[in-house]
């Protein structure tokens, strides 16, 4: 049997053991906690300190007990200004009895350094509900801050890249809706920022093929990337702009995976390759031209080689006939006279036609030179050049009963010209005019000061048949129509090239039945920026 006091004593022992147990339990929790934990009294002095808190602040726990918290590790703000106690959330907790948090603050270590901390200050009340202090639980958030900073930095970089990229970049979700669009993509496709967001690519810019036929999503490499998870590329496709026009694009569609490894969409990068295509086409064109030039040069060489025995052979044959026939005729051989005349006529025919072939070859060679050799400007008298051309063509004109005239050329100033090219230009203009002029007509080369004081104007006027409009319009293009039987159509190209090279211009005035006038305007001086190497014309 136990007495009442004995029972009481037993209860007391049990309770104190229980309390001790609880205390130990609490102590263990406090010891083990990763967070720093302080107890503060109403003066803000430490009543207890766990090892994590002491360690973070660089103290031994016993150094802190009884010391004022605010002046020890919370005296100064992050920006270096003093931190009045009254503003401190720790202080306020045991003053107003509310829970207070601090997020963007620093705690100061014993060695004078600081760290960013996040904390909660909770008031402590006694059994009667009176405030007796506060518990502060805090964390050193240096590492978290660093992570946040790295992430922000990384985002900023990514953003910068997306903003600055010359290539268009989109993100697409599994439905093909835009999740982001960089400025280059908006610019290339003609949309305002944000306009494409949430809209599907297949109805905005990838709905139709270059040939105008619809483009089913299943066949589209962009769509395939977020279906099969592989990188797809498109070379020869068109993207459609908001205004309904399109451009050739080269693109790569790369699948995006989420954290769980499931397909989340695709990133598409693309370029407008209009300019690249144009450059490639131009290079091809130039290569073709170089090849044509080379082939024409070879053909010209061959033809001239072949013409040599024809012309010289005819010449030698004539010598032979001239030697033999007079004897035969003197000796009254039958039919000798007629045969001699026939033979001479046939030789004339051979020579005339071989010369025409030679002229054509020269024309082709000149046109080829026009595109291949640099200009060589020297001071020239236009009158002398034209006289040279007229001398060359006078026999031909006389045969056709046409007079070649000049007017006002002597009064012209000396001009900077590529003599050979200008000669060829006039040669072609006059040579082409002669067959168009009826017997008794004329071709006149005239000269006068140009409308601008630094130019001269030259005209080549004939009294010929004139040109139909379709011939006139295409005259100075590569599609020029030749009306001559043997014409290459290159004559007018030689003229145009020569005038262009002199930075001049040429126009034509022509009416059927009334004749044609070519107007050439040439600068008197050529800019010094087209120097020519000696011997390189």
């Amino acid at each position: 049997m136990t007495t009442a006091p004995e029972n009481l004593q037993q209860d007391k022992t049990d309770i104190s053991q229980m309390l001790k147990h609880l205390e130990q339990h609490h102590a263990l929790i406090l010891q083990a906690a990763g967070e720093g934990i302080f107890g503060l009294d109403l003066d803000g002095r430490h009543t207890f300190v766990n090892p994590a808190a002491a360690k973070m602040l660089g103290y031994e726990p016993e150094e802190l007990i009884g010391q004022p918290s605010h002046s020890l590790w919370h005296h100064t703000k992050a920006d270096g200004t003093p931190y009045p106690k009254e503003q401190c959330p720790n202080y306020r907790a045991y003053k107003d009895g509310q829970v207070h948090r601090g997020e963007d603050e620093v705690f100061w270590r014993k060695d004078g350094s600081s760290f960013p901390a996040e904390f909660t200050s909770t008031p402590i009340r006694d059994a009667k509900g009176a405030l007796v202090g506060a518990v502060v639980v805090f964390q050193d958030i240096t590492y978290r801050r660093q992570c946040e900073k790295t992430i922000t930095e990384f985002r900023r970089h990514t953003d910068m890249i997306l903003q600055a990229a010359g290539e268009g970049i989109f993100g697409l979700d599994l439905e093909g809706n835009h999740t982001f669009v960089n400025p280059a993509a908006n610019r290339l496709l003609g949309y305002e920022p944000g306009e494409l967001f949430g809209k599907p690519s297949r109805i905005t810019w990838h709905h139709t093929r270059a040939d105008g036929s619809p483009y089913p999503a299943e066949e589209c490499p962009i769509y395939r990337a977020y279906k099969d998870g592989l990188v797809h590329q498109g070379e020869d496709e068109v993207f459609w702009k908001k205004d309904g026009t399109s451009f050739p694009a080269r693109y790569t569609s790369t699948p995006i995976w989420d954290n769980e490894g499931t397909l989340a969409g695709a990133v598409v990068t693309f370029q407008d390759i209009t300019e690249k295509k144009r450059m490639a086409a131009q290079l091809l064109e130039e290569a073709k031209l170089a090849e044509v030039t080379r082939v024409l040069g070879d053909i010209g060489h061959d033809i001239k080689n072949m013409l040599m025995p024809v012309l010289s052979g005819a010449d030698l044959l004539k010598d032979e006939l001239d030697e033999q026939f007079p004897t035969l005729i003197r000796e009254k051989a039958k039919g000798a006279e007629a045969s001699y005349a026939n033979s001479l006529d046939l030789i004339r025919m051979i020579v005339t036609n071989a010369r025409r072939i030679q002229d054509r070859v020269r024309e082709i060679a000149d046109a080829v030179k026009g595109v291949t050799s640099p200009p060589h400007f020297t001071p020239c008298r236009t009158g002398d050049i034209v006289d040279g051309v007229l001398d060359t063509l006078r026999t031909y004109a006389a045969e056709k009963g046409i007079s070649l005239l000049t007017n006002g050329l002597d009064a012209l100033p000396v001009i900077d010209a590529d003599e050979r090219r200008l000669f060829n230009a006039f040669y072609n203009l006059i040579n082409n005019a002669i067959p168009e002029v009826p017997r008794g007509g004329s071709v006149t080369v005239g000269g006068s000061p140009g409308q601008r004081p630094d130019t001269v104007e030259l005209t080549v006027a004939d009294t010929g048949r004139g040109m139909p409009p379709e011939v006139r319009e295409r005259l100075f293009t590569t599609q020029a129509i030749s009306t001559k039987k043997e014409g290459t159509g290159l004559g007018t190209k030689i003229v145009k090239d020569a005038i262009d090279l002199h930075h001049g211009h040429i126009t034509v005035e022509s009416e059927e039945g009334r004749g044609t006038i070519f107007h050439l305007v040439l600068p008197i001086t050529q800019i010094a920026s087209s120097p020519t190497k000696p011997g390189n014309t």
Partner: protein, 148 residues
């Protein structure tokens, strides 16, 4: 008419006239060689033919005396040893022999550089008889000067 190349012309010798000089004609076209030969033989020159630079070199080297050739008239675009290389070779091997180019390829740059390097003339095919004979006569004159 002689068809084979490489034999020296004999027209002048048979005619009993004194030869005006011996010309080596180098061209890959037999007909070109033939008309040039006729022009030259009628005027009184002896003619040797070669169809390319290599044969030309052989012709000159095979002769007992290379100086017997006075003028070389050559194309500059032929198969095998081309004319430009041949010209350099001729100029090195036979500095006393006068050179004339006869070509279907009028290239002012090449022409200028060759003229600077001492060829007598640069003739473009088809060439007129007078031009050809004038150039050859000039080359013969130069040959006389070289020989002094």
């Amino acid at each position: 008419m002689e068809q084979t190349t490489g034999k020296s012309g004999t027209a002048a010798m048979f005619s009993g006239q004194r030869s005006l000089g011996r010309i080596l004609v180098v061209d890959d076209e037999p007909d070109v060689r033939k008309v040039v030969r006729l022009y030259l033989e009628k005027t009184g020159y002896d003619v040797i033919e070669a169809e390319d630079g290599k044969q030309a070199v052989r012709e000159i080297k095979n002769g007992e005396n290379p100086l017997l050739v006075d003028v070389i008239l050559t194309d500059i675009r032929m198969p095998k040893l081309n004319g430009l290389e041949a010209i350099q070779f001729f100029q090195t091997e036979f500095p006393h022999v006068s050179l004339i180019v006869l070509t279907g390829f009028p290239d002012l740059t090449i022409a200028t550089s060759l003229m600077k390097n001492g060829i007598i003339d640069y003739l473009v095919k088809p060439v007129e008889k007078e031009k050809l004979l004038t150039a050859v006569a000039k080359a013969m004159e130069q040959r006389e000067i070289n020989h002094l």
